[in-house]
């Protein structure tokens, strides 16, 4: 592959100090996406390291990775807006229980209305980020 490569354990700034490159490798988001979850037929507007988005039901979505994570113990974060006047919340999958848990290849989440947080609701602006180790 004809791409340049710099091998270094530390990056050093002239005045601001230095940082180990493993901070960059381990602290970089490994996947992200953005989409409108209120559309009749949803689709990612943009994304990285995703193969599919699955519409599971009202306010319920599943993402799948192209490059798997090393296991299911990764960190998931995100934000959602229900509509112009309503904030939303995101809930990720649980470790065990009735809701399907994440695997190294995929995970799911719900969006809810802040006025009724235990009921899933479609959101029109959803963004998520995944941090953790890659397989």
């Amino acid at each position: 592959m004809a791409l340049g490569k710099i091998k270094a354990d530390t990056l050093e700034h002239s005045t601001a100090g230095s940082i180990a490159t493993n901070y960059v490798v381990e602290g970089t988001a490994k996947a992200w996406n953005f989409f409108d979850g209120s559309a009749g037929t949803i689709a990612y507007a943009d994304s990285f390291n995703s193969s599919t988005l699955t519409d599971i039901g009202t306010g319920n979505y599943k993402y799948a990775f192209t490059n798997n994570m090393s296991n299911a113990n990764f960190s998931f974060g995100g934000a959602a807006i229900i509509d112009e006047t309503t904030f939303g919340l995101l809930s990720g999958t649980e470790i065990a229980g009735s809701h399907a848990r994440s695997t190294s290849s995929s995970g799911g989440f719900w969006t809810t209305n802040t006025a009724s947080v235990n009921s899933s609701a479609n959101a029109n602006s959803i963004s998520t980020q995944i941090f953790g180790d890659l397989a």
């Binding site: 592959m1 004809a2 791409l3 490994k30 996406n33 209120s38 559309a39 009749g40 037929t41 949803i42 689709a43 990612y44 943009d46 994304s47 990285f48 390291n49 995703s50 193969s51 599919t52 988005l53 699955t54 519409d55 599971i56 039901g57 009202t58 599943k62 799948a64 192209t66 490059n67 798997n68 090393s70 296991n71 299911a72 695997t103 190294s104 290849s105 995929s106 479609n122 180790d133 890659l134 397989a135």
Partner: protein, 158 residues
């Protein structure tokens, strides 16, 4: 654009290359499947950047690699993947057509029990369709089901 020789390159690096060099491709295909009689139909949507990789060729690993990793993960003593190198070192698949890419995604991201015997039973458990064939709004989303009128011996994908 020619794909670099990627076998042996970390898959994440290949995705970085693709993000920088390929335009996303929004597919009109959708995969509708039912994996439980008690739940509504699910709609699988291809990722536009993934689809660009599939059409380009030489980037994605064979789908069998994901099955191998899933087998590892299903073992009771699984802690973390030790065969992630399969993603990076297995020879990448050649360019696919959009239809072949959809088949690949079904085998990657749909539950195996759905697609392995999709046409057994009284009605199809999985249908490939165009997005225009789905309801235009999400009203009654949790009641969506594959139409009972579809027979398993019909070609239902346009």
């Amino acid at each position: 654009m020619q794909t670099p020789q990627f076998q042996g390159t970390h898959l994440f690096d290949r995705l970085c290359w693709a993000k920088e060099n390929l335009d996303g491709v929004q597919s009109d295909y959708r995969v509708v499947y039912e994996d439980s009689v008690d739940e509504c139909a699910k709609i699988l949507v291809p990722d536009p950047n993934w689809m660009a990789c599939a059409l380009q060729g030489g980037i994605l690993p064979p789908v069998q690699v994901y099955w191998e990793l899933a087998k590892d993960e299903a073992k009771p003593d699984f802690v973390k993947h030790t065969r992630g190198h399969l993603l990076h070192n297995t020879k990448p698949v050649e360019a696919m057509t959009e239809e072949q890419a959809i088949e690949y995604l079904i085998m990657k991201d749909c539950p195996q029990h759905v697609w392995r015997d999709w046409d057994s039973g009284n009605k199809p458990k999985l249908v490939i369709c165009r997005k225009e064939q789905l309801p235009a709004t999400r009203e009654w989303r949790n009641a969506w089901k594959i139409s009972e009128e579809l027979a398993t011996d019909e070609t239902v994908a346009a």
